[in-house]
Symmetry: C2
Subunit: 230 residues, 2 copies
Amino acid sequence: MNIILASTSTLFGEQYLEYLKPELIKLYEGITEIIFIPFARPGGMSHEDYTQKAKDFFSSININIKGLHEFEDKVEAVNSAQGFFTGGGNTFLLVKTLHELGLMKVLKENIESEKPYLGCSAGSNIGGVNMKTTNDMPIVYPPSFDCMELVPFNINPHYLDPNPEIKHNGETRETRIKEFLTQNDIKVVGLREGNWIRRIGNRVTTEGTELTRIFEKGKDPYEVDPGTEL
Amino acid sequence: MNIILASTSTLFGEQYLEYLKPELIKLYEGITEIIFIPFARPGGMSHEDYTQKAKDFFSSININIKGLHEFEDKVEAVNSAQGFFTGGGNTFLLVKTLHELGLMKVLKENIESEKPYLGCSAGSNIGGVNMKTTNDMPIVYPPSFDCMELVPFNINPHYLDPNPEIKHNGETRETRIKEFLTQNDIKVVGLREGNWIRRIGNRVTTEGTELTRIFEKGKDPYEVDPGTEL
């Protein structure tokens, strides 16, 4: 496999995908066109507007973008594609749409046969075992929470450390992930913004500028440096 | 009906349920014992420990507590109860458990026949139309997101205003609720901590110390004062 699963598309104060540009040039080497999967619809934006946003960035690295919503036969479109990018937004909406269109398995098979894949945020969640560690609101009911399992763990994107100054009784991210581990025995990778998972062949590493926080059942959470093999 | 749906059980720096004590004395007037529903299991704590926590508070207002997990025939226990309290925790775990045990409808019917009900956080979410505006992580897959619809809207507990100082790309609460409204036409009541919904008979009001933020499809969000009829 040849994939990037990123915590976020956009760093604070920066342009869309700008911080990943050198990595994306390598990921998509030799590729002239990829399919963009806009189904997570951040803020409820249209498939068309979201695809245009991806187009605007990818034209800067000479890659053409087609939105998956544009194809009548979407299974055929995925099977014919050179590579993929799934944008962030609402993971429930993304997973529901992929399952209902019968695309989750087809996309997985195409990525497992070496087509490059980039996921950001919700697009990274679907690279995990299931979507049970998303941060998103369950605005729609998917027929299943199962995802592509491109890596043997779950991802928590936009991982956020507890802020001791907040006088608010909502759960911290760490509390939520620990609750997940009371019900599931799946490793969770807390990806801070600025970090991503890189898989090349069978080698899976954490990359980026920040430490990555790992949660496993029956262990205290621990931190790993960029470049650590998972 | 005679119900309270509260944003949170505990205000910052206070004891469990302390701020609601005068309201709870009125809610449960004439009642000597209620059933506590511990299935949301905050932080993964056991049903026993969670029920003990509720017991410790309710003994101070002379109400005995039985945990619903203690009964072999839980439907019969609900039908025989004088009143109910559902504690907070993980809404997915709570809703999954209630549906699997066939209790969602039984609990609804008992509350509709005038038995007093208190819900906090996840326990308030289940008083809404569905659980699609919970803040919780989807750590388990419920057979349905439908809830009791004790009020004709959805609740977002622990409602939190956007913090312009946060340099983080996760969605704000307002963005999430607006995404919900792109997919659903159900009013959402953003309950800040310190606020609750009170229903007596057919009269539904917001109560507490804070303004309440209301979201409706096709309208700008707006604020209402404590005491406003919804």
